[in-house]
Symmetry: C2
Subunit: 193 residues, 2 copies
DNA sequence: CTGTATAGGGTACAGTTGTACCAATTCTTT
DNA sequence: AAAGAATTGGTACAACTGTACCCTATACAG
């Protein structure tokens, strides 16, 4: 009777192994065999829980979105005030620690694959970013009534995505990226003149 | 005697074929054979001009940076005034037409590879973005003396990178991205209060 | 007790990859 | 004219990929 949930656990374990491999050696290195080895199981077991590699890739992407959402929820708990909320959420979009670094590397790799791979493109890839953007827009709307919430929130999210890519690529440090982010938030939330 | 330059032309042709394949089918699809077919030459010829795939990948990346630089130079010619210059340069960072769409897809794919591939990481990947950032900072410095040029230019460049990724992923249209960009530039270049 | 489904392991296979090798042709130089 | 270097082609090969197949155990329904 617990078979169903047990099965789901196994699938999660394997998907997490894929994410680990992809984060350390690149998404292209996440072969069936590499994932099986990382998960400490046989190749056949991976095949048993995922009929095809496409299914595994798709499930791992779901799992990644889930993990990123969990991180945001955990970070946001106990934070109050529009400025603090927005800063917390946007900071999570920056790869400041190994875990989020892995997340953003794998997520962006998936996104690049999705541009040319119809199967991945069908995924609800953009649900999380869209939700973030709406949330930030909402906070701006009744935290800074003078501004255009949608345009400003889109700009902020895009900036963080770009800053995150810059950090990943080694263009700037996570601290520098945070400084750029804080500067923009200071401007947005400065006392009305 | 023209052999040397002839050889260089051939290498460019092959590298351009790689960029075309990568832009249409993804960087992972740019195999030796696919590149040879796209270039209309035999597999051995590709091997002849590039001893190893790593060399081909590296040369194609150089070539991509060259093409992107050429596009910026061409776009900027005939444009005057800080606001117009900055807008022109940043707009080029957005995938508004097929060519720049291809450029940004392949460039970002390379960047993701470089995170886990030491050979690619050694490349002067960030020279172009850094140069752009410096140029924009310079324009802001004596176009908008009140602002912090480096922080604002970093924010603008990062925002455009993020917007570009969003356009590639299908999150928003190129027009919407341009609207977000223009809104930020309007703010930066509004009459001093 | 018997059969049937689930979980697991090992191996085989066809296709693709980067690379290496061998042959032929063309061009330059002596 | 001859020799040799550069250029092009075809094919071979070892490694790796995703997938398929065959063989056990163990749990549970009849």
């Amino acid at each position: 009777m617990a078979r169903g949930t047990d099965r789901e656990w196994r699938r999660r374990d394997i998907a997490d192994a894929l994410l680990r491999v992809a984060g350390e050696r690149g998404l292209h290195a996440a072969t069936m065999r590499a994932v099986a080895a990382e998960a400490g199981v046989s190749l056949h077991l991976v095949q048993h829980y995922f009929d095809t590699k496409e299914q595994l890739m798709s499930f791992a992407l779901q799992r990644l979105a889930e993990l990123m959402r969990d991180r945001v929820v955990q970070r946001v708990s106990g934070v109050a005030g529009p400025r603090e909320l927005v800063e917390t959420i946007l900071a999570e979009a920056l790869p400041t620690d190994p875990a989020s670094r892995l997340h953003h590397l794998v997520y962006t790799s998936y996104a690049m694959l999705a541009v040319t791979d119809p199967a991945l493109a069908a995924h609800p890839f953009l649900a999380a970013p869209d939700a973030m953007e709406s949330f930030v827009a909402e906070q701006l709307a009744h935290g800074r009534p003078g501004t255009d919430p949608r345009l400003e929130s889109a700009a902020l999210l895009a900036m963080c995505a770009g800053l995150g890519a810059g950090v990943l690529a080694g263009q700037r440090s996570a601290e520098d990226a945070m400084a750029v982010l804080r500067h923009q938030l200071d401007r947005l939330f400065e006392v009305t003149h």
